[in-house]
C-alpha cells in the first residue's frame, strides 16, 4: 500500500509568502519563458506512430512503456542522490534548493507538458523529442518526493551516529555506505514505489498526447488503449488493461516488494519486530540462492575498491563543523551566470506577456475558475464515498484483509489509461466531456484520499474508541467527536495530493482528440492545450503561468494552513 506523504519544510510561521518565494517565482517564470522561446521553432505538423491493435504487439508496447519508466526512474534516483546531498550539506545552497523543491512539487506537472514538448521538438528530431518529453515528464513527477525523502533522512541522522563516524575517522565513502545510505534506504524505497506508481499516470498522458495537427503519441500501452477506444474496439481495450495490470503487478512482486524486504534490514528501531508489510516471497527465494552470495561478493569487492580510493581523503563531517562556510569562486560564477540567464528569461517572458490581450486575460481567469470548480467537485465527490468506505475498512481488520488487495489493484491502474475509455462512453451525451473530465479527476485522486482515510481510521487509538463506547456516543456525535477529528490530519494529507492530481488531469481531460475530432470544454487546461495546438505561444505562456500561480496560491492559502492546523491541533500523541 502506498502512503502519500507530503513534505513541508520549515517556513516562517507568520507570512504565507516569503522573499524566497518571490525569487522562486522569478526563476520559474524565467525558465518557462526560455522554454517557450525555444518552442517557437517547433514544427507545425507532427506525424504520430501507427498503433497496431493485435495482441502480439502488446508485449512490445508494454516493454517500451516500462523502458520509459525505468529510464525516468534512473534519472530521478541519480538526481535525488546528488541534489539531496548538496542541499543537506551546503547550508547556503539549502536555502534556495529546499524552497524550490517545495514549489516544484506543488506545480501541476502536466501543465509543463505542452511547453516541454514544443521546445524539445524545436531543437531535436521529432521522434527523440517526443520520447525525451515523456521521460522528462515522468521524471518531474517522480523526483520531488524522492529528493525530499533523501534530504530529510540525511538531515535527521542522529548526531551521535555522525559523531561516531567522525571519531572513528570514516572516509566519505564509508560514511555513505555505513551511515547515510542505510539510514535513508527505507524512505528511499518507499518513495520510489510511490513515485513509480504515480509515474504511470504521466506516462499514459504523455503517450496519448495529441494537439490539432501535431500527433505526439508514443508507441506504448497508453497509445494502444487510446487507439482501441478510438476505434471502439472493446476487446482490445480489455486486453490492453489486462496487460497494464499484469505489468504493474509483476513489477510490484518482482522488484518493489523484494526491495522493500531488503531495505527492512536498515530499519532504525532498536526493538525487534516483524514487519509484515516488508515480506516478499521472491526476496526470500533470492536470498536462498547462490545468486545472492554472488551479489554479496560483488558488492563487497566494489566496496573495498572504492573504499581504498577514498581512504586517502579524510572527510570532516560538515554537520559537525561549526565554523562558517566561505563562498567559493565557483559558486559566485554559477550564481552570476544563473541570475543572467533567469533575467534574460524574465525579460523575454514579459515581452511575451505584453502580447496577451485584456480579453484573453479575462478568459484565462475565467478558465482557472472553471477548472477550479471541476477540481472542487471531483474532490468533494471523492470525499463523499471514500470517507464512509475508508472508515469501514480501517476499523475492521478482517474487512481490510479482504478489501485492501482489491483496492490496491484498482488503484494501481493509472487514471489516464482509462480516460480514452471514459471518453468513448461519455462523448455522445451532452456535456459528456465535462463529465469525463470530472470523472478522470476523481479516478486519479480518490485513491489517495481512500488510503489516507483507511490509515487514519486504523490509527484512532483503541482507548479512545472504548471511551466513546462507554460514553455511548452514537451516530453523528460519534463522528463529530471521535472519527472526524481523528481522520483530519490524514484527510488533509490525502486531499493535498488529490487536488494536485486533479489540476494535473485538467490538461488531458479538458481537450481531447477523439476519432480525428477535437472536443473541448471551457477551462484553463483546455486553454493551455488549445494555445499549444494553435501555436499561440504568448497565450500558452500566460495560461501556464496562471495555472501554476493558482495552484501554488491555493496550496499556500488553503492547504498549508489546514496542514498546520492538523499538525498542531489534531495530532494523536
Amino acid at each position: 500500500m502506498f502512503k502519500p506523504r507530503t513534505f513541508t519544510p520549515d517556513l516562517p510561521k507568520s507570512s504565507l509568502f516569503s522573499r524566497a518565494d518571490l525569487w522562486l517565482l522569478l526563476i520559474l517564470i524565467g525558465l518557462l519563458a526560455l522554454a517557450i522561446v525555444a518552442a517557437e521553432g517547433a514544427p507545425a505538423t507532427v506525424q504520430g506512430p501507427d498503433i497496431d491493435l493485435s495482441l502480439s504487439a502488446l508485449p512490445f508496447y508494454a516493454l517500451r512503456s516500462v523502458g520509459r519508466m525505468a529510464l525516468a526512474y534512473g534519472l530521478s534516483l541519480l538526481f535525488t542522490l546528488i541534489y539531496g546531498y548538496i542541499a543537506a550539506y551546503n547550508a547556503r545552497a539549502e536555502r534556495i534548493m529546499i524552497p524550490l523543491l517545495d514549489v516544484l512539487q506543488s506545480v501541476p506537472i502536466l501543465s509543463f507538458l505542452p511547453v516541454v514538448l514544443l521546445s524539445l521538438s524545436a531543437v531535436l528530431p521529432e521522434a527523440i523529442a517526443v520520447e525525451l518529453t515523456a521521460v522528462v515528464l515522468i521524471f518531474t513527477s517522480q523526483v520531488w518526493n524522492m529528493t525530499f525523502a533523501w534530504y530529510q533522512s540525511l538531515t535527521t541522522i542522529p548526531r551521535e551516529l555522525r559523531e561516531a563516524s567522525s571519531i572513528f575517522s570514516f572516509s566519505r565513502w564509508q560514511r555513505f555506505t555505513t551511515l547515510e545510505f542505510p539510514f535513508g534506504a527505507i524512505a528511499l524505497v518507499w518513495n520510489s514505489m510511490m513515485s513509480w506508481a504515480g509515474g504511470w499516470f504521466f506516462l499514459m498522458a504523455a503517450e496519448i498526447f495529441t494537439l490539432g495537427e501535431r500527433d505526439f503519441r508514443l508507441m506504448g500501452l497508453g497509445a494502444f488503449l487510446q487507439t482501441a477506444a478510438d476505434r471502439g474496439d472493446i476487446g482490445a481495450i480489455g486486453w490492453g488493461l489486462l496487460a497494464l495490470v499484469i505489468v504493474i503487478v509483476t513489477l510490484d512482486q518482482f522488484v518493489w516488494r523484494p526491495l522493500l524486504a531488503w531495505a527492512s534490514q536498515f530499519r532504525l528501531e532498536m526493538i525487534g519486530r516483524d514487519d509484515d508489510e516488508a515480506q516478499s516471497w521472491f526476496y526470500d527465494l533470492i536470498r536462498q540462492s547462490a545468486l545472492s552470495q554472488w551479489f554479496g561478493r560483488l558488492a563487497g569487492s566494489i566496496d573495498q575498491f572504492v573504499g581504498r580510493v577514498f581512504r586517502q581523503h579524510p572527510a570532516p563531517d560538515p554537520f559537525l563543523d561549526n565554523s562558517t562556510q566561505r563562498r567559493s569562486a565557483l559558486s559566485w560564477v554559477l550564481t552570476v551566470v544563473g541570475v543572467l540567464i533567469i533575467a534574460w528569461g524574465v525579460w523575454s517572458g514579459s515581452q511575451l506577456l505584453l502580447q496577451v490581450s485584456i480579453a484573453q486575460w479575462g478568459s484565462i481567469i475565467l478558465g482557472v475558475g472553471a477548472t477550479m470548480l471541476r477540481v472542487a467537485t471531483a474532490t468533494t465527490l471523492a470525499l463523499l464515498w471514500t470517507v464512509p468506505v475508508g472508515v469501514y475498512i480501517g476499523t475492521r481488520p478482517r474487512a481490510a484483509a479482504v478489501l485492501q488487495p482489491i483496492v490496491q489493484i484498482a488503484a494501481s491502474i493509472p487514471a489516464t489509461a482509462l480516460f480514452p475509455v471514459l471518453v468513448l462512453a461519455l462523448i455522445a451525451i451532452p456535456g459528456g466531456l465535462n463529465l469525463a473530465a470530472i470523472a478522470l479527476m476523481m479516478l486519479g485522486t480518490q485513491w489517495y484520499v481512500l488510503f489516507n482515510v483507511i490509515a487514519g481510521a486504523a490509527a484512532i487509538p483503541q482507548d479512545l474508541r472504548f471511551t466513546s463506547e462507554l460514553l455511548q456516543l452514537r451516530g453523528w456525535e460519534r463522528w463529530r467527536i471521535l472519527i472526524l477529528p481523528g481522520l483530519f490530519p490524514y484527510l488533509i494529507t490525502g486531499l493535498i495530493t488529490a487536488s494536485g492530481g486533479a489540476w494535473n488531469a485538467s490538461i488531458v481531460a479538458e481537450y481531447v482528440v477523439f476519432n480525428q475530432q477535437t472536443y473541448q470544454t471551457f477551462g484553463i487546461g483546455a486553454q493551455i492545450a488549445a494555445a499549444t495546438a494553435a501555436g499561440d505561444f504568448a497565450g500558452l505562456f500566460a495560461a501556464t503561468l496562471a495555472m501554476i500561480a493558482a495552484v501554488v496560491t491555493i496550496n499556500r492559502l488553503v492547504w498549508r494552513r489546514l496542514y498546520r492546523l492538523a499538525e498542531s491541533k489534531y495530532r494523536m500523541e
Binding site: K13, S14, P158, E160, L161, E163, A164, S166, I167, F168, S169, F170, S171, Q174, T178, L179, P182, Q265, F266, R267, L268, E269, M270, I271, G272, Q304, G307, R311, P316, L320, D321, N322, S323, K569
Partner: protein, 437 residues
Amino acid sequence: MQRGQTKPLVELMGVTQRYGRGARQFTAIQDVNLTIAEGEFVALLGPSGCGKSTLLRIITGLNRPSEGLVRYRGKSLDGVNPYATIVFQTFALFPWLTVEENVAVALKARGVDDATAHRRAVELIDLVGLDGFEQAYPRELSGGMRQKVGIARALAVDPELLCLDEPFSALDVLSAEALRGEVLELWTGGSLKIRAVLMVSHNIEEAVFMADRIVVMDKNPGRVIAEVLVPLPHPRDRKSDAFAALVERVYAVLAGQTQPEAVEYGTEPGQSGQTRLLPAVSVTALAGLLEQANATDDERDPIARLQDELGLDLDQLLPLIEAVELLGFARVESGNLILTPLGEAFAEASIQTRKEIFASRLRRLPFFRWMLRMIAAADNQSLRWEVLLTALEPEFPSEVAERQLDIALEWGRYAELFAYDDAEGRFFLEAPTVAAK
C-alpha cells in the same frame, strides 16, 4: 595505580564556545582551563545545559572552540584527535550492522585489512564478555549489552584517551551498576593502552565511585566552578563515611547557597542586568518536592537523601531546587534544603490556596511582572505569543526564549494570572476572580 605520574595528556587553555552571533549570541562554555594528566580518571559533573558534553566534544576534536587552545601531549589539536575515542550515551551503534561488524567498522576505517579486523573484533567482543553474540544485531541486545559493544568498539582503536559521555544514564539501574564495575576493572587492570579516562556524568555517586578527580561545572554560562579530589582507593565502598561525606560535599557545591532576593530574581527582560531564566519544571513536580521535604520532622533535608527518596536524577532535581529557591519556598544551605514557612504552607494547603500562594509569588518575579504589564498594556488586554517571543529575543536565543515562554505559560496558567487560547496563540488577562473570593 598509575597515580604519581603527572605528565599532562590534555590541556585546555581559556576554552570558550559560543553559538550564534550578534545580540543572540549564546555562550555555552566560558573560559575553561583544565588539565588531564596521564593515569587520571576525571569526571565532568554538572546540571544539564552546563556544556559538559560540548567540552568533551572539544577535547576529542569533534568541535572546534570559538576561543582558546586545546593541546594533546603538548601539541595543539587540529581536527579529530586520533588517539581519543568516545563511548556514547545512546550507544551510537549502527542498527544495520551486527555486533562484530559494528566493532570491525572502526578498524576498517583505519585501514586494517578484513581478516585482521575480524580477528581483533572477535577478541574485543570476548574481552567485554559478549562472546556468542558476534552475529547478533544491536536490536536483539539489552541496553547493557549494547553499551558493551560501544565499549568494545571504542577499545578497538587502541585509544589513549577514553571518553565516556554519560555512558550509563540510558541503562537500567542494575545493568548500569554492573557495567560501572566492568569499566573500572578494565581501567585498573592496566592491560590496555588507555592513559586517561574522561567521563561526563550527572550522577554524583557515580562520579565519586569511579573518578580520581571530579570537575564540577555550572550553567549560564557553562564554566568550571570547583574541583573535588577523590582520594579513596578502589574498590570503593559506597556505605563508608568517607564516601558519603564526599557525595554530600559535591551536592553542596552543585546546589550552591540561596542568594539574597535581588540576586536570585535578576532584572526584567529589556532592562540592563541579567534576566533570570525560569527553571524548566512543572508545578506538579514542584509540589511533589515540597510535600516530600515537608513529610519529615527534620527542618533540614539533605538534598542527597531527597534525591534518593524521590528517585530523580540530578538533571531533574537541580531545576526543582532552583525553582523552590526562586519562589521563596525553600533555602539551600550546605547541601540541605530548608523549607520556609511559605513553603510549608504551600505543602499543606488546599488546591485553591496553593494557586493563591503561587500567584502571589509569581507576581514578584521580574519575568512575570514584565509579562503581565505587556499583556495589560495591549489592546483588549490580550497579546499574541509571537509578540512576547519577539520582545524576548534580544535577550535570549530564540529556542531559549520559546522555552521560557512555555514555562511561564504553564506557571501562569496554573496560578490563573492569565489565560491562553491555543488556537489563536493569544494570552489574555484573567478576570481577578481569585482575589475576589
